[in-house]
Point group: C2
Chain length 224, copies 2
């Protein structure tokens, strides 16, 4: 087993290049002070007109107050994975040892152990406009900051939207006002075991120069 440990001195570029979704956690807790620090960095993220309408609802493993919401989410994540796996399996079962096979094993482990995840952070957005696809510009940069900061403190995490299956009941359980959108569920813990590298498509397929469909030839080797 590899323990990443505290990496407070990690460089920005290295962190951007290597921070990946972490879904297997050791049982180790996240001290409240570390969680506070992670949230502090999350809040440094930009938001529309710097309104900072993102909100963090922390569900800590040892907090009895958080237990009902955590139990409900555990159920939701298991349902979510059953639905997702069915969707993936429509393209056929994955070959043993393939990237998808490993991903599916990690997902199964994730939902099987959701109830023991040290910290779950629900991320909300206190709305000041009508719901809109672009409103995420004021909340998801903070989610990314949160995941990056967690990395520096020795933790890993992943952002999901799998609260959606139980959202109404969850909102009632945690007393979320109507004006607050539930945008993400982020799990955090100390990474367990070895994690593979980031997998990304060739950059060239994602960049269009000047107009749609014009290749960015200047990407050079980075486009491959």
């Amino acid at each position: 087993m590899t323990v990443l440990g505290d990496q407070r001195d990690i460089g920005l570029l290295e962190a951007l290049a290597t921070t990946r979704a972490i879904r297997r956690y050791r049982p180790d807790p996240i001290p409240d002070d570390d969680l506070a620090e992670i949230l502090w960095y999350a809040q440094r993220a930009p938001s529309g007109t710097n309104r900072q309408r993102f909100r963090f609802i922390t569900l800590r493993r040892d907090d009895p107050e958080a237990a009902p919401a955590r139990a409900l989410l555990t159920e939701s994540f298991r349902k979510g994975w059953v639905a997702k796996r069915a969707e993936l399996d429509r393209d056929g079962e994955p070959e043993e040892g393939s990237a998808r096979f490993r991903m599916q094993a990690a997902m199964q482990h994730y939902v099987d152990h959701f109830d023991t995840v040290p910290v779950v952070v629900l991320v909300g957005l206190e709305r000041y406009r009508r719901p809109d696809p672009s409103e995420g510009a004021s909340v998801y940069p903070a989610c990314q900051n949160l995941l990056l900061a967690a990395r520096a403190l020795g933790y890993g995490g992943v952002m999901t939207g799998w609260h959606a299956f139980v959202e109404d009941e969850l909102r009632e359980l945690i007393g979320l006002p109507d004006g607050v959108a539930l945008c993400a569920t982020i799990t955090l813990g100390v990474p367990m075991g070895r994690h593979g590298p980031l997998r990304r498509k060739p950059l060239g397929g994602l960049v269009h120069d000047g107009r749609w469909g014009r290749p960015a030839t200047w990407l050079g080797e980075r486009g491959e």
Copy 2:
């Protein structure tokens, strides 16, 4: 004048704590190779099921192909600022020297010089589901990575949504397919002059522990 310059060795935590919106740029260009590298880091960001449906349309200052879209955006940003200033001024004119006064001066400078910004990146999302407020989870983390990576390479930038005023015409100019949402307009350049610190509200007001409205007492000094 302060030139930040290349900061490739900047630490992750320092970058998260200090990267702020930059709206005043020196005339210096952004070499294509630096832009390629910034986009490469942007693509390392997570997205739903790692689909990487974010798309980057680059509008480089010296590219004649990009000129019509840049001219249209210049007009849109000027209109956007007039509208925004009117909204802000409903609460009264800002006091000279106040934070809002400085912000407004920076905004005026920004829109007045928009046509000379070295690089504008339009960020799109190739949709695979119906438009939804949560779809931003698959595009705005990449925008935040982009802004952070720019910092390490000596650039600054800001994410805006001010393409909205001319979106139909812009989409036609750049040939954007109907299935691609236009999510953000990011400007990048070498920062000019001195930039103040990040301004953020007390963290305690943003964090709820276990359920909405329960203070996270464990934030300690970080909550203040």
